[in-house]
């Protein structure tokens, strides 16, 4: 994979206003939630009702994953949107493939650019969120753990790659983004499925949270390493399918 291709894909991604919306949202949502949740958490702790003490701070990281999802989706959907009303069939993907015609190398470069952006975003968000938690709730914040922060960043990166591969399969950002946002913020279909079968806890969008959270709403405990491996396997399989389809389909 050439450095030129990765830099070009970075330029493309960071040149999109929607990508910046994802970046900014991802960066500020979790730290903002610390302020919102702090009074209630403090009250719960003072009355002895704080059940998930180990996850104070870390729980807020969940909302920021929407930023990673947006980035994963727009990295691909921007290729498929029409370039203008004058030529509704024309898309940026044509320019992309004219400049970088080796499709597997293009996908690798695009994925690498996405991973870089999301990893930096995830690391910054996690550090700021945990620092703020320590500042606002010094008595209750769990000790800093580089491993847990790393796991949270890995979760974000894998989620971004999940959104990337699913958007590549459907070639449409609106469907993918709606499903992901609804599933992760309004009603989690995956979580509801865990009520039917515990195996649903291994679905790709929710298993990864076990990497850095110690308590889960479904009351199913999956060891962090198992969770990481399971999510990596899901993402690898979906990426492989997306790459296969991308290679076969006409542009």
């Amino acid at each position: 994979m050439s450095r030129h291709l990765v830099v070009a894909e970075l330029r493309k991604l960071l040149g999109l206003p929607t990508a910046w919306a994802g970046l900014v949202f991802g960066l500020i949502a979790a730290p903002a939630l610390v302020f919102v949740n702090a009074p209630a958490l403090r009250r719960a702790a003072e009355t002895g009702q704080l059940v998930n003490a180990a996850d104070v701070g870390y729980q807020n990281l969940g909302i920021g994953l929407l930023g990673a999802l947006i980035l994963g989706v727009v990295a691909v959907s921007s290729e498929y949107t029409s370039t203008g009303d004058d030529s509704p069939g024309a898309r940026q993907l044509t320019s992309t493939l004219l400049a970088m015609p080796a499709r597997h190398r293009l996908l690798a470069a695009k994925g690498a650019a996405l991973v870089l952006v999301v990893a930096v975003q995830g690391a910054l968000t996690a550090l700021v969120t945990l620092w703020l938690t320590g500042l606002l709730m010094p008595d209750y914040a769990p000790p800093f753990s580089a491993v847990r922060v790393g796991a949270a960043v890995l979760y974000w990166v894998l989620l971004a790659l999940l959104a990337y591969s699913v958007t590549l399969i459907f070639r449409n950002g609106i469907i993918t983004l709606t499903v992901f946002i609804v599933n992760s913020s309004v009603v989690s279909v995956s979580y509801l499925l865990t009520k039917l079968t515990p195996a649903a806890a291994y679905l790709p969008d929710i298993v990864g949270a076990h990497m850095f959270l110690r308590s889960q709403p479904a009351d199913i405990t999956i060891p962090p390493v198992t969770a990481g491996l399971t999510m990596t396997a899901w993402v690898t399989a979906l990426l492989a399918l997306a790459a296969y389809l991308f290679h076969r389909r006409p542009a």
Binding site: H4, T83, G84, D86, L97, L98, M100, P101
Partner: protein, 250 residues
């Protein structure tokens, strides 16, 4: 006289093939399409809408696949060129840019992907007359400006081969005249220009060689003079070759 402009058959056979399309087929669309384009000449690829021009061009550029046959640029498939923008400049439908990107930002990522310098971006913007609009979002461009931006992208790598699909669609008369002069100049510099169009009169005044395609089959190829032989105009020749009533061709 520039040797490239010697339209004699011997001279054409001696020049190297920059674009060679050999027995390309795609079920229901293209049937055994073969032709070549050579340096220093504008090759017009002529046919009514839906005849298979865009499909052929997209196969040549590696965007679509042929079920059989080969389409090569300098004896290699497009996708095998590591820095393709330095070999072929292509202009297809639309500006090629995401609508929220400025013209300059679009050209910059393209330049980066092929290891081209930043200064080249400003050069091509000046060539196509968009220097003053470099910071404007591509989504706000008129059709004519979009075509110019597409052409600027095609010229980024200063390529010896240009492949242009319906480049004058949407251009005003001044734009058409500019494009014609520009393409003639490219050929005069020794570049290979493949130009698809359904506008016969336009091709007659721009092209040296013509390939006529109809319903996915090549029905004639040769110099403009050869293809027009026996008819008053290229348009008459086209009508007689394709059996199309003139409205259908437009």
């Amino acid at each position: 006289m520039d040797p490239w402009f010697d339209a004699s058959a011997d001279r054409i056979r001696l020049t190297p093939r920059m674009i060679s399309i050999d027995a390309v087929s795609r079920p229901g669309i293209l049937h055994d399409v073969s032709f070549e384009a050579r340096p220093g000449r504008v090759t017009g690829f002529l046919g009514p809408n839906g005849a298979g021009k865009t499909s052929t061009v997209r196969i040549l550029l590696g965007l679509d696949r042929a079920s059989s046959g080969t389409a090569l640029i300098r004896n290699q498939p497009y996708a095998s060129w590591p820095r393709p923008l330095t070999v072929v400049g292509a202009l297809l439908d639309g500006s090629g840019s995401h609508r929220s990107r400025s013209a300059r930002a679009h050209l910059r990522w393209m330049a980066t992907s092929n290891g081209l310098s930043r200064s080249r971006v400003d050069e091509v913007l000046a060539i196509v007359g968009l220097a003053g609009e470099a910071g404007k979002r591509a989504g706000k461009f008129s059709l004519g400006m979009s075509r110019r931006l597409g052409l600027a992208a095609a010229l980024l790598g200063d390529p010896p081969v240009l492949v242009l699909d319906e480049p004058i669609n949407g251009l005003d008369p001044a734009g058409i005249r500019w494009m014609r002069t520009f393409l003639r100049q490219c050929a005069a510099e020794g570049r290979t220009v493949l130009l698809s169009s359904h506008l016969m009169n336009e091709l007659a005044s721009t092209a040296d060689d013509v390939v006529v395609i109809d319903r996915g089959r090549v029905v004639a190829r040769g110099t403009v003079t050869e293809v027009t032989a026996g008819h008053d105009t290229l348009e008459d020749a086209f009508m007689s070759l394709t059996g199309e009533p003139s409205e259908a061709a437009w």
